[in-house]
Structure formats: structure tokens, C-alpha cells
Amino acid sequence: MIKATGIHKHFNGLHAVKGVDITVQDGEVLCIIGPSGSGKSTLLRCLNMLETPDEGIVEVDGVQVTQENLREMRTKMAMVFQNFNLFSHLSVLENITVAPVHVKGVSKEEAEEKALKLLKLVGLEEKAGVYPRNLSGGQKQRVAIARALAMEPEILLFDEPTSALDPEMVGEVLDVMKDLAEEGMTMVVVTHEMGFAREVADDVIFMADGCIVESGTAQQIFDHPQQERTQNFLKKVL
């Protein structure tokens, strides 16, 4: 379970996140939607402290994330980035094994075996020895998901995972994410893919101007939005 309470974040005078609370239960998928600049990515990045919140606390399984336990807590919530951020000097296999080996102390053999299984899961077992520059965007993102899963995290954080992809590659990444959701992975997904959110999310949060405007089940948000801002936003994107 991941819980954030009273998260505030300022950037050079801009109040990007204004006191937001979220809770995601084990096995749940939370999708955060909203217009660009609404603070949804910043909120996500506050969860694993890539942005240090100015105020507020984040708890994973009831343990508060602090500077002291930050590294350990980060291994519990792996992140998938909009721009993939695969390590460009490492092969696909090394991308997946580097953190388990050096952070968790897993043996190289064990990590590689696991990595190959994960590559199979995302449909890329034949790409183990390839370097990221020789992969398509969709393949890169699937490798990035495998890299995140290799840490055996309790929660996966997705920061607009399909926004940098060519349209024809969005489906292959969403399919992998759907599979993970069905298997009971706890996920927090910042996304512009409304179809995915409607289909996969347990809960949906609509954010605007750094605040949660409306939250509820996917059905509530997409079929019966209460707030005018939510209605206007959905009218534009659906």
C-alpha cells in the first residue's frame, strides 16, 4: 500500500502540487489524469522523492519514506519514465540486471536468469544482447518495464509511459501494463490514455492546477463526472 498525505511542491514560485492526498491499496491501479501542467507527474515524482516534496509525507506499507531509508524504499516502488531512460551504455540484459546485482546483491547468474524471464514476459527475449539505441520506442519501454520489475517492487510508478511513443507502438506497451494489472500489481499511472484508464484503473484521480479536482472509481469519473472541470476535460480528450 502506498499513501501520500498533504503533498506540496513549489518550483521557483510555481505551486505545482497543492496539498494532495492519495492512497493506493495493494493490487489496485490508480490512474492520474489531467491537463498538462496540472502537477500529476510532479506528484508521482514526489512519491519516490525524485522531487523532494516541500511538505507532506509518503508511506509505503505504513513506513514513512525518509532521507535515511530512501534507497530501500525506492526499491519497493520502481518507476517507468516517459522517455524510457534506459542506460544507453548497457545492453538490454545489463539494463535489467545492474540494479538487482548492485543494489540488492543478487548474484549475476540469478539476475540474468530472472531478466530473461522478464524479457520473455514483455515479449523481447531475443533482444537481450541488443543496446537500447537499436530498439524501437515501444521495445525500449517494454525493457524499462522489465527493468523495473526486476527489482521485485511492491508498487510500479508509471510517468506517462506512452506519451513519447509513436501511435502504433502505444498498444504493445499498454498490453504489458494491462497484464501486470490483471496479475495484481499495484500501480500508479500518470497517463493521457483515457481508454487504458477506463479499462484498467480501479480508481481515477483528475488533477488540475496542482489540486485533485475529482476522484473516484473509473466508472464514476468517466461516466458520471461531477465537476465541471472534469466534464470539460473529458469532453476534449475522449
Binding site: 534506459l86 544507453s88 551504455h89 545492474v98 540494479a99 548492485h102 543494489v103 540488492k104 539505441r133 510508478l157
Partner: protein, 222 residues
């Protein structure tokens, strides 16, 4: 023998010394330069300042002056304070000066290389729970190193030329070989032209090699 040909042959005899000192200096420069580059990134202000002062002082003074201080000034100072000190061979202060001089330039190059690494790479490493040290060692430095390899090549080319100042502190490299021959043969023009040709024989192919490498890496990066 044709004096021009002889000038080239004489200068060539100094080439191994020039190349040796330059190679040593590149290696020391890269290692020490890396230390200074990391020091400049340090969170401790005092560490940053030490690195900054070193880099400014070395870059702000001519290498010939540094070489004279190292080769003659320091032994003099030590002798004045009652320590019997003499360099066993002048090549030692020569190598130290070239290495430490190069380090100041390489520090800036390496710092640039580190800055050129995509911040997303660091974020990804952080998100996987890596420590600062692990991120540097496993992710940032290998990528920065690749970025700066051509600069190491360029620094080597520069050093081949710069080490000519060592002729003033008695190291018999290319220029000193030519000077000595000039002093005995009075073939002044062939002697110095010979030296120039030998320098060019070294620097031209190396520069070409570096640009070819840069082109190949640019292609790979696409």
C-alpha cells in the same frame, strides 16, 4: 647526407621521448583530472574551492614557467631549507608537470562530459535505489568517459606540441634533439624544419584519427 633529411632523422630520435612523456601525461591528466572534476561536483564548498584554485592557477600560468619551477625552483627551495634534493633525472619533473598541467584541462573536459550525460539516466538509477557512488561508477562515468574519448585524443595531440617546452629543462625530446644538432652542425634551418616535420608527422595522423573517431561516435549516437 642531405641536411634536411638529416634534420628529420635527428628530430625523430627525440620522438620516443616526446610520445612517452605525452602518453604518460594524458594518463595522469585523465586520472587526476577525473579527481578534480569530481571535486568540483562535491557538496563540500572547500573541496570545490581547492579544485577551482588548482585549475585556475594551472590554466593561468604558462607550462614553461611551471616546468622551470618544478625542475629547478623546487630543488633550490629544498636545498635552501637544508634538504639535499636533486631530481635523479629531469624527465621526472617533466612528466609530473605535463601530467598535472594536463589534469587541469582534462578536469574541465571531464566535467563537461559528466554534464553531457542525460539527467534522465541519473533519475532512472536513483529510482532503482542506487547510491550516489553507484550512480557515478556504474552509470554516469562510463557514459561521460565515452563522450570525452575524442577529447583525450585531442589533449594527446596538444601535449605532443606542448612538451616542446621541456627542451628548456634539459629533456631531450624532439625540439631539444634539433637544438643540439644545430649547435654542433650549424644547420639551423634544416634542424628546425626537421623538428617541425616530425611534429607534423605525429600530430596530423592523430588529429585525423580523432576526427574519424568523433564521426563514428556521432553516427553511433543517432
Amino acid at each position: 647526407m642531405n641536411p634536411y633529411l638529416q634534420g628529420i632523422i635527428v628530430a625523430l630520435k627525440g620522438a620516443p621521448m616526446t610520445i612517452g612523456v605525452s602518453l604518460f601525461a594524458v594518463a595522469v591528466g585523465a586520472l587526476v583530472g577525473l579527481c578534480f572534476a569530481l571535486m568540483k561536483k562535491s557538496e563540500k564548498k572547500i573541496v570545490q574551492i581547492i579544485a577551482k584554485i588548482y585549475i585556475e592557477v594551472v590554466r593561468g600560468t604558462p607550462m614553461i614557467v611551471q616546468a622551470l619551477i618544478m625542475a629547478y625552483g623546487i630543488p633550490y627551495l629544498l636545498q635552501q631549507s637544508g634538504i639535499a634534493f636533486k631530481w635523479p633525472h629531469l624527465i621526472i619533473p617533466a612528466m609530473i608537470v605535463c601530467g598535472l598541467n594536463s589534469a587541469a584541462y582534462m578536469a574541465e573536459v571531464i566535467r563537461g562530459g559528466i554534464q553531457a550525460v542525460d539527467p534522465g539516466q541519473v533519475e532512472a538509477a536513483q529510482s532503482l535505489g542506487m547510491s550516489k557512488r553507484q550512480i557515478n561508477r556504474l552509470i554516469v562515468l562510463p557514459q561521460a568517459f565515452k563522450i570525452v574519448i575524442p577529447s583525450f585524443g585531442n589533449e594527446f595531440v596538444t601535449l605532443i606540441k606542448e612538451t616542446s617546452v621541456l627542451s628548456f629543462v634539459g629533456v631531450v625530446e624532439i625540439l631539444r634533439s634539433a637544438q643540439l644538432w644545430n649547435a654542433s652542425s650549424f644547420e639551423t634551418f634544416p634542424a628546425y624544419i626537421g623538428a617541425a616535420i616530425v611534429y607534423l608527422m605525429l600530430t596530423y595522423p592523430l588529429s585525423k584519427g580523432v576526427s574519424a573517431l568523433e564521426k563514428r561516435m556521432a553516427k553511433e549516437a543517432e
